[in-house]
């Protein structure tokens, strides 16, 4: 009964949550979208367009495009329209590179941390809903940000930086701001800023758009903004206005000389995307519900088998009284229906509680509020599924019950279940699959997927069960080392092989889910750690606000002055490097150059990629090379280049054939020793190819590129896209060194690599919240099943326990026996679950190499410990009372 209730509860709980999420998001689309229309500037600087020589003194490469004055006045005109109710401008700072925050004036931890700043109009933003501070409690943004130099931080970043209200912080290591308020991490939860499946950065801050100090920090002129939220009277108004904006506004030059087109989106248009996202979430939750159902179903099967087994005698008596098999079967079906009903109703109640509890986790995951409400659909689903599955699962043993011959009554003691014919069993199982398939199809809303999925799942489960049966059989054959307790445990297991196997199955499914999540999460964290360590090759990252060589020199001096840097690597990034000629033979024209050294047409393919110039290349970091060599220190100042192998999309047959015949790509055709001519940020540079690397991309620090050259290979006259340093200082010195650099070179941000890692981990933790909760749930359901089946097993073995006590076994011995028995199940279930998870992940890794798989032995141990704990806990719960029973109580029932 408990097993049914648990399964139904999982379904109701998860489904309610999914529906609540969907409802919340779609009903309140404006709040989620923050407006009826969102107009945002899109950066359309293409590869061919160079930002060099715009003559604007203030480093155009990094300034984000903003609305032009024409655009803003056009918006102004539109605002006169009837449908236009309200609007507010926002500047989402630096979408292309991170911003940084640090505590100032001695407060806090002193480190620099990433930050996503939002420059808003405090009295007006947001148009829908409101953002109230958690500290001071309930204060609206409009009351917090009233004078220049004030800032409101998210809870998470305030904690991280170690500041509170009244402390001051610096942004971009330049201007100081006074912390006036702290808002919850959920405040920025908008799909505009982050798609639903990537939780928004929990490290963000609000400052006022008209704050001159903020504008100075972010290089903005008065009125600059890159997002406009518009509130309209009706959705129709929104559509009409959006239409006008799309067609009628000048997509002119912005004040920065960067062509800014903009993107207009109405809330209604955003709806499908959001629905898609919640749909995925819903499916995910649904699958979890179905898995719980399967586990629940196994538990129900177990229960029914034991119920019938224990009733064999009763059935025999009924039969000898003249009841027909059919009538007895009916009796049991009625019992099953009753059990299903009561169990399901209990499950529904539990599920409602569960969904209420899960809502909290869901909110944390989505970073937005979920309106929890009682939904009828999941309740009906849960009830129907619970009853149907109980009856269906109940049917199998019923069939056997009908075949009990009355003479078993005379053969006392035998309470074994007669085997129903194999064919009949098979038919029942298939019919059962059909019924579950129907349920699943209704659930998923797709017949093909539902049926195929169900049969597939059944097949997999059947195979798994067979394998587990084999495992149980093997376990029964284990040596007992003369220990009677162990012997009895193993005999106990192998006596009820079917049930041991199905308990194992429940455990395996639960632990599989759990270990998949744990291993994935682990691998991600390890991946982040390793990536940061290997790619950053240092413990400090010095980031220049602008790729300015003068500031670079200043930074070099300051790093020198530290006196403790063990290694300094300087990296220059050139975002637009296009290969234009090989050995002087120009590329880019179809048919190629007639005088080209490599006649079969060098093709017309050109692609712009990022080139990196690095100051220090050592054999230590040399990656795997396909050909030639990696850069060496002696290359400094020489005109040489190494390339990454072509990205896979370029190697694809379609792409390759379309462009350069049978040969893969242009880079594939260049040989070591060839002279490659690049157009780098608008200037031609010729470099000798010395090596080809095996990987697609070069990772140098945080930068990714396709070409790597030594420092000074590119003349100073070529504009850099960004400049940074990776500095290695002795362990333990990094905080002080970072503080010193930050103090001495204002505007240049020095971050400790640890801070970056902690951000990644925080994000990762958020991503894994929901799956973890779900797998915990699956495990919980598994635990319930185990407790249930242990309870049943103990019930069945009450006589055996009483007998053991009669001949002198102490209660603890009996308990030990039961614990060993279930401990074995726990360990085996855990091990198989973990192995399956690893197997699946490794296979997945083959298909999708981006997904790292590196199980941590510690967490595997943890999962195994959980499995053992669950099994032992469940066993203890039901075996404890049984082991304390007075033997006579049991034995007198002859």
């Amino acid at each position: 009964m408990f097993a049914i209730a648990a399964g139904v509860a999982a379904i109701v709980g998860l489904q309610s949550l999914a529906l609540s999420v969907e409802d919340t998001v779609t009903n309140d689309i404006q709040t989620t979208h923050q407006a009826d229309i969102v107009v945002s500037v899109e950066d359309r600087r293409g590869g061919s367009q160079t930002t060099a020589g715009t003559g604007v003194g203030e480093s155009p490469a990094f300034a984000s495009p903003v609305f032009s004055e024409e655009e803003r006045s056009a918006f102004q005109e539109l605002a006169a329209n009837d449908g236009w109710v309200d609007s507010t401008y926002v500047y989402v700072a630096n979408p292309e590179r991170p911003s940084f925050i640090a505590a100032a004036g001695g407060a806090g931890t002193g480190g620099q941390f990433f930050l996503q700043p939002y420059l808003i109009e405090p009295g007006k933003y947001p148009l829908y809903g409101e953002i109230r501070a958690v500290e001071p409690k309930g204060a609206p943004l409009g009351e917090l940000l009233t004078s220049p130099g004030e800032i409101a931080l998210s809870r998470s970043i305030a904690n991280r930086v170690g500041v509170g209200i009244g402390d001051s912080v610096t942004l971009e290591n330049s201007r100081a701001f006074l912390v006036k308020g702290i808002v919850s991490n959920e405040a920025a939860g908008s799909p505009l800023f982050a798609p639903i499946f990537v939780p928004p950065l929990p490290w963000f801050a609000y400052v006022a758009l008209d704050d001159p100090i903020a504008r100075e920090t972010f290089n903005l002129d008065e009125g600059d903004a890159n997002v406009l939220f518009i509130k309209t009277r009706t959705p129709a108004d929104a559509a009409a206005l959006a239409g006008v904006e799309r067609s009628g506004l000048p997509a002119g030059e912005s004040i920065r000389g960067i062509s800014s087109t903009f993107d207009v989106e109405t809330a209604e248009e955003a709806l499908p995307e959001i629905e898609d996202a919640t749909d995925i979430l819903g499916k995910f939750l649904l699958i979890a519900g179905l898995v719980s159902l399967v586990i629940g179903g196994i538990g129900i099967l177990n229960t029914m088998l034991v119920v019938v087994g224990r009733r064999t005698m009763e059935v025999g008596i009924l039969k000898s009284l003249g009841l027909k098999g059919r009538q007895i079967a009916t009796l049991f079906v009625i019992e099953a229906v009753l059990m299903g009903l009561v169990g399901s109703i209990a499950g529904v109640l539990l599920g409602i509680l569960l969904s209420f509890a899960l809502t909290g986790f869901g909110e944390q995951f989505l970073q937005s509020n979920i309106d929890w409400s009682l939904q009828t659909e999941p309740i009906i689903n849960g009830l129907v599924v619970g009853v149907v599955v109980t009856v269906v699962f109940g049917f199998l043993p019923v069939l056997a019950a009908g075949r009990v011959r009355p003479n078993v009554v005379l053969q006392a003691q035998s309470s074994t279940l007669p085997r129903s014919g194999r064919v009949v069993s098979l038919v029942v199982v298939l019919a059962l699959a059909a019924v579950i398939g129907v349920v699943a199809s209704v659930f998923v809303g797709n017949w093909t997927i539902g049926m195929i999925g169900t049969y597939g799942a059944m097949a997999i489960l059947a195979l798994l069960s067979l394998a587990l049966l084999l495992v149980v059989w093997l376990v029964g054959k284990l040596p007992t080392f003369g220990s009677i307790t162990l012997k009895l445990s193993l005999r106990g297991l192998s006596r009820q092989r079917g049930r041991a196997a199905s308990t194992l199955l429940a455990l395996v499914v639960g632990l599989f889910a759990m270990s998949t999540i744990v291993i994935l999460g682990d691998s991600m964290k390890q991946f982040v750690d390793e990536t940061l360590e290997s790619e950053l090759g240092g413990n400090l990252l010095v980031i220049l606000p602008d790729p300015d060589l003068e500031i670079r020199d200043q930074a070099r001096d300051e790093i020198d002055r530290l006196g403790q840097a063990e290694r300094v690597v300087e990296t220059h990034e050139f975002e637009n490097a296009t290969l234009v000629a090989i050995n002087g033979a120009a590329l880019g024209r179809p048919g190629g150059d007639p005088g080209a050294t490599r006649p079969p047409g060098l093709g017309s393919l050109q692609f712009a990629s990022t080139m990196l110039a690095q100051s220090d290349a050592s054999a230590d970091d040399a990656p795997e090379m396909l050909e030639g060599r990696y850069l060496v220190p002696e290359d400094a100042g020489r005109a040489v280049v190494v390339v990454g192998s072509d990205p896979p999309w370029l190697q694809s047959p379609i792409f390759g054939r379309a462009s350069v015949g049978n040969e893969p790509t242009i880079i594939g055709r260049a040989l070591v020793g060839d002279d490659l001519t690049f157009l780098v940020n608008g200037q031609e540079v010729t470099l000798a190819l010395v090596g080809k690397m095996a990987s697609n991309h070069l990772h140098v620090g945080f930068s990714q590129g396709h070409f790597l050259v030594p420092m000074d290979a590119i003349p100073d006259s070529v504009p850099r896209s960004s400049i940074g340093f990776q500095v290695t200082v002795p362990e333990g010195e990094s905080a002080a060194a970072a503080a010193q650099l930050n103090r001495n070179i204002p505007g240049v941000v020095t971050v400790e690599v640890d801070a970056i890692a902690s951000l990644f981990k925080e994000i990762l933790d958020r991503i894994t919240v929901l799956p973890s909760v779900l797998s915990a749930l699956a495990l919980f359901t598994g635990a319930v099943i185990i407790a249930n089946s242990v309870a049943l097993a103990t019930l069945e073995r009450r006589r055996e326990i009483a007998l053991m006590k009669t001949v002198g076994a102490k209660a603890n011995k009996v308990l030990t026996m039961l614990l060993i028995e279930n401990g074995i199940l726990g360990i085996i279930g855990g091990a198989i679950g973990v192995l399956l998870a690893i197997l699946i992940l490794v296979i997945f890794h083959q298909v999708q190499p981006d997904v790292p798989v590196s199980p941590n032995p510690l967490s595997i141990l943890f999962v195994l410990a959980v499995a053992l704990g669950v099994a032992l806990g469940a066993a203890l719960l039901s075996a404890w009372p049984a082991s304390r029973e007075k033997p006579l109580e049991v034995l007198r029932y002859e």
């Binding site: 006392a412 003691q413 035998s414 009677i484 012997k487 009895l488 005999r491 106990g492 192998s494 006596r495 006589r799 055996e800 007998l803 053991m804 006590k805 009669t806 001949v807 002198g808 076994a809 102490k810 209660a811 603890n812 011995k813 304390r884 007075k886 033997p887 006579l888 109580e889 034995l891 007198r892 002859e894």
Partner: protein, 228 residues
């Protein structure tokens, strides 16, 4: 300890046992006094439901009385905790039941070995002892058989061997032949008496069979929870 108690192996005084069945209380034992001397064979007769099984169970420490006390070899077992009782059942008492009550997953040999293996600081090698006892009850050919593969009489013989495993002072047999046909019952009873003679154990036996009762030193009758 007084000399007269030393030869009393089993003594119960003013034993009462009540069962709460919903609103009504069943008085299964209403103040039973019994003393069985060392090596004595006592047969208990009585109608079904008169309290025989309840008495035997309490004498053997399988259940606790509602009132009164039970002494085995002069030691009061009514004050003992479960572990001490288990020890007593293991070393001092052997039970034989009407329905054999063997552990179905274990072989005949293993069933007989069980009490020896549960005994702490036991005097026997379990394997050898079990083989001897099974030979004694004539089952030397059946060591590896499971209870399901044995006939009723054979099962009861295994049960007798099991009861003798730790050479107990007292054997308590509750209708040991009640579930067997007359001929088999007789041979099983012979084996029980033979085995008892071997160890000189005290035997308390519940039976409906006057012939069996005649073989006892003393016959008692149970009526409505009292020995008369």
């Amino acid at each position: 300890m007084a000399s007269d108690t030393s030869e009393v192996m089993l003594r119960a005084t003013m034993l009462e046992k009540h069962f709460q069945m919903g609103d009504t209380v069943v008085h299964a034992l209403r103040g039973v006094d019994i003393a069985v001397t060392k090596g004595e064979i006592v047969a208990i007769l009585g109608a079904s439901g008169s309290g025989k099984s309840t008495l035997l169970g309490i004498l053997g420490g399988l259940d606790a009385p509602s009132a009164g006390r039970v002494e085995i070899a002069g030691v009061d077992i009514t004050k003992m905790n479960e572990n001490e009782l288990a020890e007593i059942r293991n070393k001092k008492i052997g039970f034989v039941f009407q329905f054999f009550n063997l552990i179905s997953t274990l072989t005949a040999l293993e069933n007989v070995e069980l009490p020896v293996q549960f005994s702490t600081g036991g005097q026997f090698s379990s394997r050898k002892r079990a083989e001897e006892l099974l030979a004694l009850v004539g089952l030397q050919e059946r060591l590896r058989h499971r209870p399901g593969q044995l006939s009723g009489g054979e099962q009861q013989r295994v049960a007798i061997a099991r009861a003798m495993a730790n050479a107990p002072d007292v054997i308590l047999a509750d209708e040991p032949t009640g579930n067997l046909d007359t001929a088999t019952g007789e041979s099983v009873m012979n084996i029980l008496f033979d085995a008892r003679r071997e160890t000189g154990a005290t035997l308390v036996l519940v039976t409906h069979d006057a012939q069996v009762a005649a073989r006892a030193n003393r016959t008692l009758t149970m009526q409505d929870g009292l020995l008369v």
